[in-house]
Amino acid sequence: MTEPLLRIAGLCKSYGAVIASDHVSLNIRAGEVHAVIGPNGAGKTTLVGQLTGEIAPESGTVRFNGREITRWPVHARARLGMARSFQVTSIFPRLSALDNVALAVQAGAGHGFGIWRPARAEATLRAPARAALERVGLAGRAAGPAGALAHGEQRQLELAMALAMGPRLLLLDEPMAGMGPTDSQRMIALLAALKGEVAMLLVEHDMDAVFALADRVSVMVYGKVIATGTAAAVRADPAVRRAYLGEDEAA
């Protein structure tokens, strides 16, 4: 298969004088972990927004799984197999952890409003939800309200919700944000275990995570992708060292 899972071509988006995406082109192959790094304000989150459908690009195209989805609404992309986690934890705090994941299963379970059977008694929703919680190590916390989980656990819950959608591609917007070293290590191990099974676009500041997980790395500066390649190649790229890594390593 030569067609990549996700093909981004020439995406442009600006906010007034600020150019957030300047002809961004990227490919993500099936099963690949592709990290996008870059200093703050480089346009990484805007890029994620254009992939999920929350932000409309001014020009350029997004093709996913062989279809052009540039103008598709958010929910339709999700149903096609694109799952995201949010930079700021986004869960349903009043519902139990299991309910949170069961909603994700339900979203992927097909059309039809069930209006009669109690959804909390449906094994076809609960069993996959439990499996996803187990996968991220939250099996013991299924019953309590999601809002009562610790920060790191909530990030794990987000991942469980994304997994429960049965995605082809995970869009992970800073999954390690705000985590201590222990939680970060656990999240890296979780993502490493998923490698190969599902493709990931990983936006992350934590260089340890990026170099541990990524097959390829793209570097963004001022809305432009200035380099793409293996971690080692990108690390050695003089333009990247100048623009980004140099400062980081000196710090």
């Binding site: 929350e54 986004s90 349903f92 519902l95 069961a102 959804a119």
Partner: protein, 334 residues
């Protein structure tokens, strides 16, 4: 924190006691020599049904509708207009197909729900493009439009309203008998409370609550959230429309006042006072509302001076509503 199981048992006991009281209420009123209270109770139950309808949009869907009087009034006018044509013996419509008037509850009440539901579908489809304060304002605006539409509808009484020749016929019952009408309303309220209980625990209901709590997340999970909200809004309007059909029967009179913004506010207050997002809340709210109104209005004609502050206190001190206060918080399920 309450033990969930104890809270559940307490809730079950409360609901059982309330059902027993509701069943015995007409007999108690008659024994006390206050037969007019049966009518008051009937009105409270009708408002409870209206609140139950609104709660689906407000409490479960997070849609603050300030225009539910439109659906209440649409339901009421449907019954009144169909009855009016039945009395005249003239069809309501001759083209493109003939619609004859009717006094049958089996036809008029479902028609009232259909009319209110269809109206809610149209108003919702437009209003749901907005959210927050704008949603409140646009639903209010639609209700006001409808209010003035009925004011200017001279054929059906205009601003003076339209009397019903008779209550709907629901054989073998005679709805002119206050007892039978009371139990009919009580039965419908119980039926819709059970249906709503099923609905909010279903896939649709959980998705709706997810949208209320975090709509952006639901979209990212793959839910077409607007479609869900619109469906909930239409069902909500239809149920409030049925309450309207009942109030038309209760008063044997309809007027544009049924569609006034004050009426929308009243239904909102009933839901908020009783407890949003619970099945029992609007029922408790409606009974408390009507009982307080009744008690205070006997005491003074300026009863609203006391009623207003009481409502403010109730909302301040019972954030979960009266039902939340007496039955403890909703249990979080496994």
């Amino acid at each position: 924190m309450d033990n969930p199981r104890a809270a559940g048992a307490r809730r079950a006991a409360l609901i059982g006691a309330a059902c027993a009281l509701a069943l015995l209420a007409p007999a108690l009123a008659a024994a006390a020599g206050a037969d007019y209270l049966i009518g008051v109770g009937t009105r409270a139950l009708i408002l409870a049904l209206a609140g139950l309808g609104l709660n689906l949009a407000l409490g479960y869907g997070g849609m603050v509708s300030f225009g539910h009087a439109a659906f209440f009034g649409a339901g009421a006018y449907t019954v009144a207009i169909l009855g009016f044509h039945a009395t005249l013996g003239e069809p309501l419509l001759t083209w493109p197909f003939e619609i004859a008037g009717t006094e049958s509850a089996f036809l008029a009440w479902p028609a009232a729900m259909a009319a209110a539901g269809a109206l809610a579908l149209v108003i919702g489809a437009i209003s749901l493009r907005t959210s927050g304060l704008y949603f409140i304002m646009i639903t209010l605006a639609f209700a006001q439009m409808l209010f003035f539409f009925f004011v200017s509808l001279e054929a059906y009484g205009g601003g003076d309203g339209l009397g019903l020749w008779a209550r709907s016929s629901l054989p073998p019952l005679d709805l002119h008998d206050p007892w039978q009408f009371y139990y009919t309303v009580l039965g419908l309220l119980a039926l819709f409370a059970v249906l709503k209980g099923r609905l909010v625990a279903s896939r649709f209901g959980l998705a709706l609550q997810g949208i209320r709590d975090n709509e952006r997340r639901m979209r990212a999970l793959g839910f077409p959230t607007v479609r869900y909200k619109l469906a909930a809004f239409a069902i909500s309007g239809a149920v409030t429309g049925l309450a309207g059909a009942l109030i038309a029967n209760h008063a044997e009179f309809v007027s544009p006042a049924l569609l006034s913004w004050q009426r929308s506010g009243e239904i909102l207050v009933i839901v908020i006072l009783g407890g949003m997002g619970t099945v029992a809340g609007p029922i408790v709210g409606a009974i408390a509302f009507v009982a307080t109104e009744e008690a205070l209005s006997q005491w003074s004609e300026h009863w609203r001076i006391v009623f207003g502050p009481l409502l403010v206190l109730a909302v301040l001190f019972a954030r979960q509503g009266l039902w939340g206060l007496i039955a403890a918080r909703e249990r979080i399920h496994d």
